[in-house]
Symmetry: C2
Subunit: 259 residues, 2 copies
């Protein structure tokens, strides 16, 4: 019992956290989970690059994009703080909140996933936790959320650009006025720990925001906007004179998608 169960088409149904990957980090309700592949089971070291073609990895991305919950099971070899003293234990439903790529401790490319416990899910860490079959999946299964953070800084950015998308130029109108989203280039919070500062913020329409946050679009040091999936340039970012963008944050964003 190990690894990720799932496919690109259906998403990942379940993962096992059992200390098999040196780049994993378990914080209980939040897990930095390394994808599958390239791993030597004997030494737990990476010996080759991971890719998104591996079905478990592609499945976890699908789970994020589709908002599908993932069942987490912990094994005895994981972090002692959260792992069962023997065997395996079902630990509840998590959502895939983020994914990115980087060079792991072993010097090879890995893909990582941020797993976050779904609020209201009853899964606990006790040895006596109920098995999966006795839960009421109807309460939480398949109901997750896409979270967009608005801060005073993104607010400032949106007003500076009159709510016009810095990528596609769309200016979205609804009944009550204009709508845009403030997008952090280096994402806030774990694991990217981007700052909530003007030089880390773009004013984007909802669609470009989703694409940027999921690696479909990236920006070079020269501020050229690239459509990564179509392999073409979309234009050049033209920041307002009151808005300077920190290229280090653009690099961090490109880095987490391997560009």
């Amino acid at each position: 019992m190990a690894g990720i169960s799932g496919t690109k088409a259906e998403g990942a149904n379940s993962v096992v956290v059992s200390g098999g990957y040196e780049d994993d980090e378990d914080a209980g309700d939040l897990i930095r989970y390394t994808g599958m592949g390239g791993n030597d089971p004997a030494t737990k070291k990476q010996i080759a690059d991971q890719t998104l073609d591996q079905p478990g990895n592609a499945g976890l991305v699908t789970s994020q994009l589709e908002g599908l919950p993932v069942r987490v099971t912990r094994g005895t070899n994981g972090d002692p703080m959260y792992s069962p003293s023997s065997g395996f234990r079902y630990d509840g439903l998590f959502r895939v909140a983020d994914h990115w790529t980087k060079i792991g401790k072993g010097g090879f490319r890995i893909w990582q996933f941020l797993l976050e416990r779904i609020e209201g899910d009853a899964g606990g860490y006790g040895e006596g936790a109920e098995p999966s079959g006795q839960r009421k999946p109807g309460r939480t299964t398949g109901v997750v959320t896409r979270v967009t953070r608005n801060t005073v800084v993104t607010e400032w950015g949106k007003r500076l650009y009159a709510h016009r998308c810095q990528f596609c130029g769309a200016q979205i109108e609804v009944v009550g006025g204009r709508y845009a989203e403030g997008a952090h280039i280096r994402a806030l919070g774990s694991p990217h720990e981007g700052p909530d500062t003007p030089d880390n913020v773009l004013c984007l329409c909802p669609t470009c925001h989703v694409r940027f946050d999921n690696g479909g679009v990236y920006v070079t040091d020269e501020l050229v906007i690239h459509d990564a999936t179509a392999g073409e340039q979309l234009g050049v970012l033209q920041p307002h004179k009151k808005h300077s963008i920190n290229v280090d944050h653009l690099r961090q964003h490109r880095g987490r998608w391997g560009y």
Copy 2:
């Protein structure tokens, strides 16, 4: 001390809940709040239509679109369960989660707002609650979320349409695959109580989803898609043969925007 403080440009900073409007409903952490205008203070009855031109109403919409928090103060004439026994009491930060229009109990058009306590805000209902000035607004001010619910039903809809937006035809690609959102026509949960059934779901891109949920786009009984802010037709919805759309839900959606 009464009503809504704010403007369309800046959003609404604060509202007072004090039983002044017969269509209000206070459930503690969730408030169905009637906008300003058209109200006879003596009888609390509506005597004229409300509009979004009134600055407090426009301000609350801006607060929702911009993700700005609203300070809620309760007065002694509100629901006895949540109101102070005398005077006024600051009750913490709320977000504007939704807005819509309808004909109120008095027979006139009103605009209503769903106010939802911001998670983690310390505001309480006790008489001894701290005044506004002693809170730490930095913890929560301006950090709110746009919530998109994905369910197994929206999942089904997205696969049926190969993630192609039913309004604009966009098929969003990111690193891990295609992305779309399942949009409920009649919204889930309070106050619209829409069902999570296939006949209440559309497959939309993030931008069209935001526009639909905020009244920028609506659909007629004949499935004609209207851009409400531009005043033009966008095309005709062409549902998949396995997907029937319930026109009652389209009517409820139009009704809540006054179309």
